[in-house]
C-alpha cells in the first residue's frame, strides 16, 4: 500500500525562540529550521512499514514557503520515495493544511497517512484529526505502537491514564507520539541520492483550496518571567523555607 507522510518545517527544537519587538510573531529570520520532530517519527514509521513489506511507496508532503522543499529533502534522505510541495506564502493554519492534504490524498490515494501529533511551533495538535474528519476516515492519535494487518491498523495510543489500543479500518490517519520509534539519521550517500528523487510542486489555487486564515493573531508576547535562582544549603533549610516562607507544606 501507499503511505503518505506530512512534514512541517519549524524552528529547530534546540533554538531558544525570540518574540519580535513589534509583537507580531516570533523571529524566524536567520534561525535554524528543521523538520518537526513528531513528523520525523512519522517518516520513520512509514520506513519501517516499508521495510516490513507492508508499505510499497512513501510520499512526503510539505506545505508552505519554497524552503519547505528542504524539509521534503530531509524526508527523502531518510528514505521516502518522492515529494509533493504545496507552495504558498500564506500562513497556513491546521484547517487549511488538512484541506490541502485532503486534496493531495484524493490525487494520490494512499491507504495510510502518518503525521506528527503536533507541531512544536504552534502546538495546535489538530491537523491529523481534522484530516481524517474531512476524509471520513478513522483516526488513531498519539500512537506509540502500530500493527497493520487485514485492512486494519491496531494502534496503541498514549492517553492521560496510560495506554489505550484501538483498531481502525484502513484507509486511516495515524498521528505519532514520542515513543513510537527513534528516527534514523540520513546517511551521506542517502542525502546525495535524495537530491535525485522527484518533488512535484503545486499550489493551493491549483488544488482549489481556500487557505485564508480563520484565526487572526492579535499579538504575540513573552510570558511573564519567573524570578528563580535562589539556592538553599541543606535539606533542613529547604523544608524550613517551604514551611515558613513559601507556606506550601
Amino acid at each position: 500500500m501507499k503511505a503518505l507522510v506530512a512534514v512541517k518545517r519549524v524552528i529547530d527544537y534546540n533554538v531558544k525562540i525570540r518574540v519580535k519587538a513589534d509583537k507580531t510573531g516570533v523571529e524566524t529570520a536567520n534561525v535554524k529550521m528543521s523538520m518537526n520532530p513528531f513528523d520525523e517519527i512519522a517518516v520513520e514509521e512509514a520506513l519501517r512499514l516499508r521495510e516490513a513489506g507492508i508499505v510499497s511507496e512513501i510520499i512526503a508532503v510539505s506545505l508552505g514557503v519554497a524552503q519547505c522543499q528542504e524539509t521534503i529533502r530531509t524526508a527523502l534522505a531518510m528514505g521516502a520515495d518522492r515529494g509533493v510541495l504545496v507552495q504558498t506564502d500564506v500562513e497556513l493554519q491546521p484547517l487549511a493544511v488538512a484541506k490541502l492534504l485532503k486534496a493531495v490524498i484524493l490525487q494520490e490515494n494512499p491507504e495510510l497517512v502518518i503525521i506528527g501529533k503536533q507541531a512544536i511551533d504552534d502546538d495546535c495538535n489538530q491537523t491529523g484529526q481534522m484530516l481524517s474528519a474531512l476524509l471520513g476516515w478513522p483516526q488513531a492519535t498519539f500512537a506509540s505502537k502500530v500493527k497493520i494487518s487485514d485492512g486494519h491498523a491496531e494502534v496503541t495510543r498514549e492517553v492521560d491514564g496510560g495506554l489505550e489500543t484501538v483498531s481502525i479500518k484502513l484507509p486511516a490517519v495515524i498521528t505519532t507520539d514520542l515513543r513510537l520509534n527513534e528516527p534514523r539519521y540520513a546517511s551521506l550517500p542517502n542525502i546525495m541520492r535524495a537530491k535525485k528523487k522527484p518533488i512535484v510542486t503545486t499550489t493551493p489555487e491549483a488544488l482549489g483550496v481556500d487557505v485564508t486564515p480563520r484565526l487572526t493573531v492579535v499579538k504575540v508576547e513573552e510570558p511573564p518571567k519567573r524570578e528563580g535562582g535562589r539556592k538553599v544549603g541543606s535539606v533542613a533549610e529547604l523544608v524550613d523555607k517551604l514551611k515558613t516562607e513559601a507556606r506550601v507544606i
Partner: protein, 314 residues
C-alpha cells in the same frame, strides 16, 4: 450566546478537569452553559454534572457507541448539537485533543487549542512554542471550538446546583473504529494534573527502581509523582507520568524537580507552578534558573534525608 462543555468521564465519575473547562465557559457565556455527557451507562456522571452550579442543563447521550469516547462516533453527535451553541469547549487532555479537532473540521471552523485566558468571546490567549510565547488570537468562525488548559482556569464548584438532565438521541456508530483494550496506571496517589504538590524525577534517577526514593517523599507530602521525557523514554516510568510540552501540563502549589536538567520542553509543562524546588547535582543545570529554591547535591543522599526531615517535622 451559549456554550456546550463536553464532560470528560469514565462512565462512572466526572473527571475534575471538566470543572476547569466549565470555568473557562463561565467567562464566555455565564448562565448559558450546558454540559454534554456522552457515554454508556453514564447516568451517574450526568447527575454529578447537574450539580455544577453554573450548569443550565445537562444533555445525556447514553449509547454503546459512546462507550470508549471514540472520536469517530462522538464527533457527529456534537456536530448535530452545535447548531444551538456559539461555543463548544472541552479540556485540553488527550481525550479533548483527540475529539475536538474532528468536530471543528466537520463544522468547517478552526479550533482554538489549549486556551490559557479568555479576552472576549471571540479572542483568546494560548501558549505557543512550548509556552515560550503567548499568542492572542481572534476567531472569525461562527462557532468557536475550544480546548481549555485546565491549569489556567481554577475549577468551578462541583456541588450546589440542580440542573435538569435531558436525554438526547444518539447518532449512529460510524463503524470505523473499535476499542480493543487499555492499560491504565493504577495509583493511590493524587492525579498528576490536579495534585496540590508534584514531585518529578528525571534522567538523574538512573533507574525505575530508584523512583521509590521519590515515592517516599511523595507519600510524606501527599504528592503526585511525575517524570521528565528522558525518564519516560529510558523506561523508568510509564508514559502517563510525563510532564512537558507534549505530556501533561501541571501547575501545582509546589513542584519538586529531582534530577531534571530543565529542557525547555519540560519547563513548558510545569513553569506555571506556584513554587518550584530543584534538586540536582549539576549547579549549572537550567532548572535552577527558574527554581524558587535550588538544592545542589546528590539526590540519592538528599531524597532519603528529605523524607526523614518531613516525617520528623510533621
Amino acid at each position: 450566546m451559549a456554550a456546550l462543555v463536553i464532560a470528560e468521564h469514565d462512565n462512572r465519575a466526572l473527571k475534575p478537569a471538566t470543572l476547569n473547562a466549565v470555568a473557562a465557559a463561565d467567562e464566555i457565556a455565564a448562565g448559558e452553559i450546558d454540559i454534554l455527557v456522552a457515554g454508556k451507562d453514564c447516568r451517574a456522571v450526568a447527575e454529578a454534572a447537574a450539580k455544577i452550579p453554573g450548569a443550565r442543563k445537562v444533555l445525556l447521550a447514553d449509547d454503546p457507541a459512546y462507550d470508549h469516547g471514540l472520536a469517530e462516533n462522538l464527533a457527529p453527535l456534537i456536530v448535530r448539537l452545535a447548531a444551538n451553541y456559539s461555543h463548544l469547549l472541552a479540556t485540553a487532555t488527550t481525550s479533548g485533543k483527540n475529539l475536538m479537532p474532528r468536530v471543528a473540521a466537520l463544522l468547517d471552523v478552526m479550533q482554538i487549542s489549549d486556551i490559557s485566558a479568555v479576552v472576549s468571546p471571540d479572542t483568546f490567549v494560548r501558549p505557543i512554542y512550548a509556552g515560550n510565547a503567548l499568542a492572542t488570537v481572534q476567531s472569525k468562525d461562527p462557532v468557536k471550538v475550544i480546548t481549555v488548559r485546565g491549569t489556567a482556569f481554577p475549577p468551578v464548584e462541583a456541588e450546589g446546583g440542580n440542573a435538569p438532565v435531558e436525554p438526547v438521541a444518539p447518532t449512529d456508530a460510524a463503524g470505523l473504529s473499535e476499542f480493543v483494550g487499555a492499560e491504565l496506571s493504577k495509583s493511590e496517589r493524587p492525579e498528576l494534573t490536579s495534585a496540590r504538590i508534584v514531585i518529578s524525577g528525571g534522567r538523574g534517577m538512573q533507574s525505575g527502581d530508584n523512583f521509590h526514593l521519590l515515592e517516599k517523599v511523595a507519600d510524606r507530602l501527599g504528592a503526585a509523582v511525575g517524570a521528565s521525557r528522558a525518564a519516560v523514554d529510558a523506561g523508568f516510568v510509564p508514559n502517563d507520568y510525563q510532564v512537558g510540552q507534549t505530556g501533561k501540563i501541571v501547575a501545582p502549589e509546589l513542584y519538586i524537580a529531582v534530577g531534571i536538567s530543565g529542557a525547555i520542553q519540560h519547563l513548558a509543562g510545569m513553569k506555571d507552578s506556584k513554587v518550584i524546588v530543584a534538586i540536582n547535582k549539576d549547579e549549572e543545570a537550567p532548572i535552577f534558573q527558574i527554581a524558587d529554591y535550588g538544592l545542589v547535591g546528590d539526590l540519592f543522599k538528599i531524597l532519603p534525608e528529605l523524607a526523614d526531615e518531613l516525617e520528623r517535622r510533621q
